[in-house]
Protein backbone atom coordinates (compact mmCIF):
# COMPACT_ATOMS: atom_id res chain seq x y z
CA UNK A 1 0.00 0.00 0.00
CA UNK A 2 2.83 2.41 0.85
CA UNK A 3 4.44 1.68 -2.49
CA UNK A 4 1.14 2.21 -4.32
CA UNK A 5 0.68 5.66 -2.76
CA UNK A 6 4.34 6.51 -3.37
CA UNK A 7 3.80 5.58 -7.02
CA UNK A 8 0.64 7.71 -7.14
CA UNK A 9 2.48 10.70 -5.59
CA UNK A 10 5.36 10.24 -8.03
CA UNK A 11 2.90 10.03 -10.91
CA UNK A 12 1.26 13.33 -9.93
CA UNK A 13 4.72 14.90 -9.57
CA UNK A 14 5.87 13.57 -12.96
CA UNK A 15 2.63 14.57 -14.72
CA UNK A 16 2.83 18.03 -13.17
CA UNK A 17 6.44 18.52 -14.24
CA UNK A 18 5.60 17.40 -17.78
CA UNK A 19 2.43 19.46 -18.20
CA UNK A 20 3.93 22.60 -16.65
CA UNK A 21 6.83 22.61 -19.12
CA UNK A 22 9.44 22.37 -16.36
CA UNK A 23 11.35 19.69 -18.25
CA UNK A 24 11.97 22.30 -20.97
CA UNK A 25 15.38 23.69 -20.01
CA UNK A 26 14.73 26.90 -21.96
CA UNK A 27 11.75 27.74 -19.72
CA UNK A 28 13.81 27.30 -16.55
CA UNK A 29 16.76 29.28 -17.91
CA UNK A 30 14.27 31.80 -19.31
CA UNK A 31 12.91 32.35 -15.80
CA UNK A 32 16.38 32.71 -14.28
CA UNK A 33 17.49 35.04 -17.07
CA UNK A 34 16.18 38.38 -15.85
CA UNK A 35 18.24 40.24 -18.43
CA UNK A 36 16.96 38.20 -21.37
CA UNK A 37 13.46 37.42 -22.64
CA UNK A 38 12.04 36.69 -19.17
CA UNK A 39 9.68 33.70 -18.91
CA UNK A 40 7.35 33.84 -15.87
CA UNK A 41 6.10 30.21 -16.09
CA UNK A 42 8.22 28.84 -13.22
CA UNK A 43 6.67 31.29 -10.76
CA UNK A 44 3.20 29.95 -11.62
CA UNK A 45 4.38 26.37 -11.20
CA UNK A 46 5.96 27.11 -7.80
CA UNK A 47 2.95 29.14 -6.68
CA UNK A 48 0.51 26.48 -7.89
CA UNK A 49 2.42 23.70 -6.14
CA UNK A 50 2.50 25.55 -2.83
CA UNK A 51 -1.32 25.80 -2.61
CA UNK A 52 -2.11 22.06 -2.11
CA UNK A 53 1.14 21.62 -0.19
CA UNK A 54 0.29 24.38 2.30
CA UNK A 55 -3.15 22.76 2.80
CA UNK A 56 -1.40 19.44 3.38
CA UNK A 57 0.73 20.97 6.17
CA UNK A 58 -2.45 22.32 7.79
CA UNK A 59 -4.08 18.87 7.60
CA UNK A 60 -0.91 17.31 8.92
CA UNK A 61 -1.29 19.33 12.13
CA UNK A 62 -4.71 17.75 12.72
CA UNK A 63 -3.33 14.22 12.61
CA UNK A 64 -0.96 12.40 14.91
CA UNK A 65 0.16 9.85 12.30
CA UNK A 66 0.11 9.52 8.50
CA UNK A 67 -2.87 7.70 6.93
CA UNK A 68 -0.74 4.64 6.17
CA UNK A 69 0.86 4.56 9.62
CA UNK A 70 4.40 5.30 10.69
CA UNK A 71 5.24 8.80 11.80
CA UNK A 72 5.47 12.24 10.25
CA UNK A 73 8.94 13.65 9.52
CA UNK A 74 10.35 15.57 12.49
CA UNK A 75 10.43 19.36 12.28
CA UNK A 76 13.61 20.29 10.39
CA UNK A 77 16.44 22.11 12.15
CA UNK A 78 16.19 25.84 11.54
CA UNK A 79 19.91 26.43 11.37
CA UNK A 80 21.24 28.19 8.28
CA UNK A 81 24.64 26.52 8.22
CA UNK A 82 27.60 26.44 5.89
CA UNK A 83 26.52 23.24 4.16
CA UNK A 84 23.09 24.68 3.34
CA UNK A 85 24.70 27.79 1.86
CA UNK A 86 27.52 26.06 -0.08
CA UNK A 87 25.15 23.35 -1.33
CA UNK A 88 22.41 25.74 -2.42
CA UNK A 89 24.85 27.97 -4.30
CA UNK A 90 26.42 24.95 -6.06
CA UNK A 91 22.96 23.64 -6.92
CA UNK A 92 21.87 27.03 -8.25
CA UNK A 93 24.86 27.29 -10.61
CA UNK A 94 24.22 23.79 -11.95
CA UNK A 95 20.51 24.50 -12.29
CA UNK A 96 21.24 27.65 -14.31
CA UNK A 97 23.88 25.95 -16.46
CA UNK A 98 21.70 23.07 -17.65
CA UNK A 99 18.19 24.26 -16.83
CA UNK A 100 17.49 21.02 -14.95
CA UNK A 101 16.93 20.16 -11.31
CA UNK A 102 16.56 16.65 -9.84
CA UNK A 103 12.77 16.18 -10.35
CA UNK A 104 12.58 17.25 -14.02
CA UNK A 105 15.81 15.37 -14.78
CA UNK A 106 14.00 12.12 -13.86
CA UNK A 107 10.69 13.06 -15.51
CA UNK A 108 12.42 13.80 -18.84
CA UNK A 109 14.53 10.61 -19.06
CA UNK A 110 12.06 8.83 -21.36
CA UNK A 111 11.83 11.50 -24.05
CA UNK A 112 14.60 14.08 -23.54
CA UNK A 113 17.35 12.25 -25.42
CA UNK A 114 20.99 11.48 -24.65
CA UNK A 115 21.77 14.84 -23.04
CA UNK A 116 19.29 14.15 -20.24
CA UNK A 117 21.00 10.82 -19.49
CA UNK A 118 24.41 12.52 -19.38
CA UNK A 119 23.11 15.08 -16.88
CA UNK A 120 21.35 12.36 -14.85
CA UNK A 121 24.48 10.17 -14.69
CA UNK A 122 26.62 13.14 -13.58
CA UNK A 123 24.02 14.06 -10.94
CA UNK A 124 24.05 10.50 -9.56
CA UNK A 125 27.86 10.57 -9.51
CA UNK A 126 27.71 13.88 -7.62
CA UNK A 127 25.30 12.39 -5.09
CA UNK A 128 27.60 9.39 -4.63
CA UNK A 129 30.55 11.76 -4.02
CA UNK A 130 28.70 13.92 -1.50
CA UNK A 131 29.49 11.91 1.67
CA UNK A 132 33.21 12.45 0.87
CA UNK A 133 32.68 16.16 0.25
CA UNK A 134 30.68 16.45 3.48
CA UNK A 135 33.47 14.78 5.47
CA UNK A 136 36.05 17.11 3.95
CA UNK A 137 33.96 20.16 4.91
CA UNK A 138 33.52 18.81 8.45
CA UNK A 139 37.29 18.24 8.79
CA UNK A 140 37.94 21.78 7.64
CA UNK A 141 35.63 23.11 10.36
CA UNK A 142 37.23 20.86 12.97
CA UNK A 143 40.75 22.12 12.20
CA UNK A 144 39.76 25.78 11.79
Amino acid sequence: MRNLFAFLAGGLFGAGLFISGMTDTSKVQGWLDVFGNWDPTLAFVMGGAMIPMALAWLLRNRRSTPVLGGSFPPAPPQRIDRKLAIGSVMFGFGWGLAGLCPGPSVASLSYGGAGHWVFFAAMIAGMALTPTVRRALDRQVATA
Binding site: G16, G92, P102
Partner: protein, 141 residues
Protein backbone atom coordinates in the same frame (compact mmCIF):
# COMPACT_ATOMS: atom_id res chain seq x y z
CA UNK B 1 2.80 30.64 -26.04
CA UNK B 2 0.61 32.93 -23.96
CA UNK B 3 -1.18 29.98 -22.30
CA UNK B 4 2.10 28.72 -20.82
CA UNK B 5 1.35 30.20 -17.42
CA UNK B 6 -2.03 28.36 -17.27
CA UNK B 7 -0.29 25.04 -17.93
CA UNK B 8 2.35 26.05 -15.41
CA UNK B 9 -0.35 26.64 -12.80
CA UNK B 10 -2.17 23.36 -13.58
CA UNK B 11 1.12 21.45 -13.51
CA UNK B 12 2.07 23.17 -10.27
CA UNK B 13 -1.23 22.14 -8.66
CA UNK B 14 -0.53 18.52 -9.69
CA UNK B 15 3.01 18.71 -8.25
CA UNK B 16 1.66 20.08 -4.97
CA UNK B 17 -1.05 17.40 -4.86
CA UNK B 18 1.66 14.76 -5.26
CA UNK B 19 3.54 16.31 -2.36
CA UNK B 20 0.32 16.37 -0.29
CA UNK B 21 -0.34 12.65 -0.96
CA UNK B 22 3.25 11.72 -0.09
CA UNK B 23 3.09 13.67 3.18
CA UNK B 24 -0.40 12.72 4.38
CA UNK B 25 -0.47 9.09 3.22
CA UNK B 26 3.18 8.01 3.52
CA UNK B 27 4.39 10.58 6.03
CA UNK B 28 7.27 11.63 3.79
CA UNK B 29 8.62 14.87 2.36
CA UNK B 30 8.44 14.94 -1.42
CA UNK B 31 11.98 16.05 -2.18
CA UNK B 32 13.35 14.68 -5.43
CA UNK B 33 17.03 15.02 -4.47
CA UNK B 34 16.44 13.32 -1.11
CA UNK B 35 14.46 10.45 -2.63
CA UNK B 36 17.14 9.79 -5.28
CA UNK B 37 20.11 10.60 -3.05
CA UNK B 38 18.99 8.17 -0.33
CA UNK B 39 19.12 5.39 -2.91
CA UNK B 40 22.53 6.47 -4.21
CA UNK B 41 24.41 6.79 -0.88
CA UNK B 42 22.51 4.01 0.89
CA UNK B 43 21.04 6.26 3.60
CA UNK B 44 17.53 5.39 2.40
CA UNK B 45 18.09 1.65 2.24
CA UNK B 46 15.19 0.80 4.57
CA UNK B 47 12.69 2.69 2.40
CA UNK B 48 14.12 1.78 -0.99
CA UNK B 49 10.92 0.26 -2.42
CA UNK B 50 8.88 3.31 -1.52
CA UNK B 51 11.52 5.51 -3.16
CA UNK B 52 11.68 3.35 -6.28
CA UNK B 53 7.87 3.30 -6.54
CA UNK B 54 7.82 7.11 -6.36
CA UNK B 55 10.49 7.43 -9.06
CA UNK B 56 8.67 4.88 -11.25
CA UNK B 57 5.64 7.19 -11.16
CA UNK B 58 7.78 10.21 -12.08
CA UNK B 59 9.19 8.38 -15.12
CA UNK B 60 5.99 6.65 -16.21
CA UNK B 61 3.44 9.46 -16.29
CA UNK B 62 5.37 11.54 -18.87
CA UNK B 63 5.57 8.37 -21.03
CA UNK B 64 1.76 8.09 -20.84
CA UNK B 65 1.22 11.80 -21.56
CA UNK B 66 3.86 12.14 -24.26
CA UNK B 67 1.70 10.81 -27.17
CA UNK B 68 -0.90 13.52 -26.46
CA UNK B 69 1.71 16.19 -27.08
CA UNK B 70 3.71 14.74 -29.97
CA UNK B 71 7.25 16.03 -30.13
CA UNK B 72 8.42 17.77 -26.95
CA UNK B 73 11.67 19.70 -27.31
CA UNK B 74 13.49 20.13 -24.00
CA UNK B 75 16.08 22.48 -25.60
CA UNK B 76 18.86 20.81 -23.68
CA UNK B 77 22.40 21.85 -24.54
CA UNK B 78 24.45 19.51 -26.71
CA UNK B 79 27.60 20.51 -24.87
CA UNK B 80 28.34 17.46 -22.75
CA UNK B 81 31.04 19.25 -20.74
CA UNK B 82 28.37 21.70 -19.56
CA UNK B 83 25.96 18.84 -18.80
CA UNK B 84 28.51 16.89 -16.75
CA UNK B 85 29.58 20.00 -14.82
CA UNK B 86 25.95 20.97 -14.20
CA UNK B 87 24.96 17.44 -13.15
CA UNK B 88 27.84 17.21 -10.65
CA UNK B 89 27.00 20.63 -9.19
CA UNK B 90 23.30 19.71 -8.86
CA UNK B 91 24.08 16.29 -7.37
CA UNK B 92 26.59 17.48 -4.77
CA UNK B 93 24.82 20.79 -4.09
CA UNK B 94 21.36 19.36 -3.42
CA UNK B 95 22.72 16.63 -1.12
CA UNK B 96 24.93 19.04 0.84
CA UNK B 97 21.98 21.42 1.25
CA UNK B 98 19.59 18.52 1.95
CA UNK B 99 17.08 19.63 -0.64
CA UNK B 100 16.27 21.06 -4.05
CA UNK B 101 13.40 22.86 -5.77
CA UNK B 102 10.82 20.31 -4.55
CA UNK B 103 12.10 19.72 -1.01
CA UNK B 104 13.25 23.21 0.03
CA UNK B 105 11.07 25.08 -2.46
CA UNK B 106 7.65 23.42 -2.65
CA UNK B 107 7.60 21.49 0.66
CA UNK B 108 9.81 23.77 2.77
CA UNK B 109 8.43 27.20 1.89
CA UNK B 110 4.81 26.00 2.13
CA UNK B 111 5.42 25.10 5.80
CA UNK B 112 7.17 28.46 6.30
CA UNK B 113 10.53 26.78 6.94
CA UNK B 114 13.33 29.30 7.38
CA UNK B 115 15.82 26.87 5.81
CA UNK B 116 13.47 26.40 2.84
CA UNK B 117 13.29 30.15 2.19
CA UNK B 118 17.04 30.62 2.71
CA UNK B 119 17.98 27.74 0.40
CA UNK B 120 15.51 28.84 -2.28
CA UNK B 121 16.75 32.44 -2.17
CA UNK B 122 20.34 31.20 -2.54
CA UNK B 123 19.83 28.73 -5.39
CA UNK B 124 17.65 31.14 -7.36
CA UNK B 125 20.23 33.93 -6.92
CA UNK B 126 23.08 31.60 -7.91
CA UNK B 127 21.03 30.31 -10.86
CA UNK B 128 20.34 33.86 -12.05
CA UNK B 129 24.00 34.84 -11.72
CA UNK B 130 24.95 31.58 -13.48
CA UNK B 131 22.73 32.27 -16.47
CA UNK B 132 23.93 35.86 -16.80
CA UNK B 133 27.57 34.76 -16.46
CA UNK B 134 27.50 31.71 -18.72
CA UNK B 135 25.00 33.03 -21.30
CA UNK B 136 25.55 36.76 -21.58
CA UNK B 137 29.18 37.14 -20.53
CA UNK B 138 30.87 33.86 -21.51
CA UNK B 139 28.38 32.63 -24.13
CA UNK B 140 28.72 28.91 -23.28
CA UNK B 141 24.97 28.26 -22.92
Amino acid sequence: MEQDWIWGLIGGLLIGTGGAVYLLANGRIMGASGIIGGLVDGSGHDTKWERLAFLAGVVLLPIVLYPLYGAVDTHITENWVVLVAAGLLVGIGTRLANGCTSGHGVCGMSRLSLRGFAATAMYITAGGIGVVLFRHLLGVI
